[in-house]
Symmetry: C2
Subunit: 602 residues, 2 copies
């Protein structure tokens, strides 16, 4: 019976293959079915929540490994598998292989796609050869390759339906982010903030890969697709040339603002949400101004691409606090009023709650007490500082100037949280956030631009937050309406893995040493741990097959935190400053590339 | 209490570090303690039997994965971990890393050794970049690197105690075999039979790595260390120039006879046992004669290196049936008489039982009914064919001659069994043999020698044994005193993993698709299977820690059978003819390199 239903779901997919207009409806329906895991962040709201509850807080301690799969590729494995009916889709870092595994036949490989990519792209990937996963829609699997090729594969056969080139790797434009399918479009960002690229978000028509719209991060209003009158910033029209005015001369053309993070979508508002990354270079005195719209949350109309509202979290970034982290769309009460909210734990150490319809700022609070670069975000609408963080001069790498080592800045460049996505449980109303607890010394220096060469201009070194537990991370439960930490689990290393909350009142996450951990959603009490083959920077997912709930996660150390191991770097300041802090990881784990799937005993 | 004993065992090791004369006694004692796994084949008798019985045939179905470890290296993982007290030693294929893992601390890496080796050795390794494991003795871990360096590492710190060069990779001499420590010596063979090398077995003094003796496979009597009068062949002295007489001119100098297989040792007789590989080239008409002592079992005195007896299984090889498989030393009754026996399931498809003291031939029977190249081995001592296989002309690649495709020879060149070691249970008296069920077409051609270049001279293609179950392997139980198959489990692929029998009446083995399987030692009934990350060509081992029994095995597809996947080859005749037969493996598994450790639930 169970089996029959799953098969039925699959054939439904097949039937809709040619009716592109319904991609959106199909995915909305599919994300409702917790047997599937249809998009990287679980649903359009990016909550990474599973309604399955067979595995719960009283039995999760009995979890067992059900089966495993080696991807045949080493280095950082970000993202996670998708499950659509009886098929699991597994992807890898460069060279970005994709496998379709038959869940009815012990994970037998139905098809595989192995793109031929020029390995020259590897040295222009800032933070390991990662890929945050494939997307599903209209009977197709969408892969965003390192070389920025976006490929549409037939989900049943692996056949290439179309391909499009989203950027130019020879200029340092690369692909690491997961695409998102919404409506009749597939949206994809671009990486290269450390190479003087110009960030953009692009929507391709799912039917044939033709471009529907492309919106840049910085530049003239038409290029960034915002309307001086209608697009708002904290409730007010942004006005003409809102970006150009905040850059000196043509600097915006090398201005970064890459869009390498996560996308969310509200089907009712028909708005897509994502953030932009750091302005280039990392030497802030070289690029005076607010550098808009780097470090910004964008709410854009899916059909037109036009921005409805924007909010810049870190004007004139001096620390590399990319604004690309996930946007969780949850309706909630803040100060007694119900909002369609957007919750965004930013890299700069503040977790923001905004009204996702209007862009109104509701909450902005530190989610790691170590954060010291700013005292607060001004919440008074009448202040000229409204919505801006109040920078502490001691930690201002701009005020201290180039060739001065600004010491003890918290968080470090990789933020209180980086790409690792959070989870939200509607049962507890809490957000579960994998965090970094890392500070840094930061010394900017003058740098000049050469196409395809790093455009960084700062020497960093990172270390655990001082006067704390000595570790590099915490896993926290966050109350986003109050802006309060509910509980915090200290971790020896940053938690670089995406969290999963379930209806079983359990929250899962992985650690850089390689543990999959399960904790009580209410209290954070550890209920289970298992040492997987390699460090975990993948995101935990759950699905049901043949009436049984499974938990799946990739192992494979890497990403920025694991770059020392992944790329064989040993100097403390190598890997953009991350190598030193995470050096001792090599006592716990090696490179890997495996999927581990867990279940309760029969 | 349990814990205390283990610690005591470890300090005993430390105490004996400087008393080299007792290596032998120490290992004899250590192999008695089933908590350890002190040598690759379990004990000096190469029985791969564990006296542990916590995991037994009624509870093995509940086995769970306890922990896992990625080696950070891909390609074929042969051999297995050693366990000495609280430390597990894990090794990898090229570049031959060694890890010491702390079993008291979740497998934390105590030390690692990462040799720097010239990757030029890879193309001169015939059958993947495999390594069959490290050896322990006198507080040291011995690693035989691909480039033939033999390294002695301090077992506690990983510090290099000494190193010695055993061969010359530029001539095609490589290292894949596990060393064996016996007495005050460490013995090591050499690979390169496909490169016109001259095989030899060498004993190094454990104290400083100086050479104690080296015995060649072919050549003058003094070089091959045999005494024309005292060394016997089937009970008779071999006579003068027993090797030279069987080669034309100087051909023995390129004669192969590599010693890349397993070693055994009988401490009472003070004899070491091993086999030699194929004569070069694979074109037999090019090297007339019996090509002694290729394809031969040697029994040598440990102290002097002198051969006590020899037995050539495949005189004048025409099929690449290397004689290097394991020699299991078991006392047993044959025809009503008790013998100190040696059981050797040879690659040529006959399993031999000999008296290991005298070299007398007791049993020689086909252990796969598909074997067709010879009708029988003559057992009548009065026959001039005594001890010789009776070759079937149809399948004689020599009689058919060069440039003729001899078709349907069974077994294929990789034999009825290759490097995958068997296991013996004293409880059932049966030998558990992982086998190949593969046949071939073989077309020899004229070839000339160039140092460091393949010296092969035959085109092969392999396929499942016809008129059988369609698979490429069987896992069998063998009665070595009668020469009979007790039961046989058909497998879709060759069983390239080493077996383990335990006192729990369970036999374990791995499959190329990646399953660890447990079967009933009496009946062969499957009791458990688990899909590990990658194909298994490693050997299953067992140990006890903190009062609990564990089963451990490497995954990592490769070796000759997996060479297509491991080296990315796709032509059917590539990989010395193995690629075609095993092509569909790519639907089941990918490259990997993981240790999976199993235990019963708490
Ligand atoms: O500005 C960019 O283009 C860009 C790209 C990426 C990326 O594509 O992985 C990262 C970053 N920046 C970055 O700042 C960062 O902290 C980071 C971490 C990681 C990772 O996967 O661990 N990628 C990236
Ligand atoms: O003659 C040689 O020197 C030699 C070496 C090796 C090796 O070192 O692995 C193999 C063989 N021959 C060989 O014939 C063979 O079947 C084989 C299989 C394997 C393997 O690891 O799977 N190695 C070897």
């Amino acid at each position: 019976m169970q089996r029959f239903k799953v098969l039925a779901a699959v054939s439904m997919v097949a039937v809709t293959t040619s009716s592109f207009a319904y991609a959106n409806d199909e995915l909305v329906k599919m994300q409702e079915n917790p047997k599937n895991w249809v998009m990287q962040l679980g649903d359009y709201s990016s909550t990474r929540y599973s309604k399955l509850d067979e595995i719960n807080k009283s039995n999760v301690g009995n979890l067992q490994v059900a089966w495993t799969f080696s991807t045949g590729v080493l280095r950082g494995h970000e993202g996670g598998p998708l499950v659509i009916g009886d098929i699991m889709y597994v992807h890898t870092p460069f060279p970005n292989k994709v496998f379709a595994l038959d869940l009815n036949d012990n994970g037998r490989i139905i098809w595989k796609y192995e793109p031929k990519q020029d390995p020259d792209v590897i040295p222009v990937m800032c933070c390991d050869t990662v890929n945050r996963g494939v997307a599903y829609g209209n009977g197709m699997i969408f892969l965003h390759q390192a070389d920025t090729t976006l490929v549409a594969l037939d989900a049943k056969t692996g056949e290439v339906k179309w391909k499009v080139q989203n950027g130019d790797a020879s200029k340092g434009e690369t692909g690491t982010s997961a695409p998102m399918v919404a409506g009749d479009k597939v949206l994809v960002g671009i990486s290269g903030g450390e190479f003087g690229i110009q960030g953009h978000m692009t929507a391709y028509n799912i039917a044939d890969g033709s471009m529907a719209w492309r919106a840049y991060t910085s530049g003239p209003d038409d290029k960034i697709m915002l309307d001086p009158e209608k697009t708002t910033y904290l409730g007010k029209p942004v006005g003409k040339d809102s970006s150009l005015k905040t850059w000196e001369g043509d600097q915006w053309k090398l201005g970064g603002g890459a869009t390498w993070g996560w996308l969310s979508y509200d089907p009712e508002l028909n708005l897509v949400y994502y953030g932009s990354g750091n302005p280039g270079t990392w030497n802030p005195t070289q690029r005076p101004g607010d550098n808009r719209w780097s470090m910004t949350i964008f709410a854009r109309d899916l059909d037109t691409g036009m921005a409805k509202w924007v909010y810049q979290m870190t004007p004139h970034d001096e620390w590399d606090y990319d604004g690309v982290n996930e946007m969780m769309l949850v309706d909630m009460d803040v100060d007694g009023k119900t909002h369609k909210a957007l919750v965004h734990p930013d890299r700069n150490g503040f977790a923001y709650t905004l009204d996702r319809e209007t862009g109104e700022l509701l909450v902005a609070k530190k989610y790691d007490p170590a954060v010291n670069w700013a005292t607060e975000v001004v919440m008074d609408p009448s202040s000229d500082q409204y919505g801006r963080p109040q920078v502490v001069s001691d930690y201002s790498t701009d005020q201290n100037g180039p060739d001065v080592n600004t010491q003890g800045v918290c968080p470090a460049a990789l933020g209180t949280k980086d790409q690792q996505p959070s989870s939200y449980s509607p049962k507890t109303g809490l957000f579960y956030i994998p965090t970094n607890h890392v500070c840094m010394d930061y010394e900017p220096f003058q740098v000049s631009y050469t196409a395809g060469q790093p455009y960084v201009g700062a020497t960093l070194s990172m270390f655990p937050a001082p006067n704390s537990h000595g570790g590099l991370g915490n896993f926290i439960a966050w109350d986003a309406s109050k802006g309060e930490i509910k509980w915090s689990i200290p971790e020896p290393f940053s938690v670089w893995s995406g969290a999963l909350a379930t209806a079983g009142d359990v929250v899962f996450y992985g650690t850089l040493e390689g543990y999959l951990k399960a904790v009580d959603a209410e209290t954070g009490k550890e209920l289970y741990r298992f040492k997987t083959p390699s460090g975990i920077i993948g995101n935990v997912t759950s699905y049901e097959h043949d009436g049984k709930q499974y938990i799946a996660v990739y192992s494979g150390i890497g990403g920025w935190a694991g770059i020392g191991l992944a790329a064989g770097l040993t100097e403390g300041t190598e890997g953009l400053g991350a190598v030193g802090a995470y050096r001792s990881l090599s006592s716990y784990t090696n490179l890997g590339g495996q999927l581990t799937v867990f279940a309760l005993p029969d």
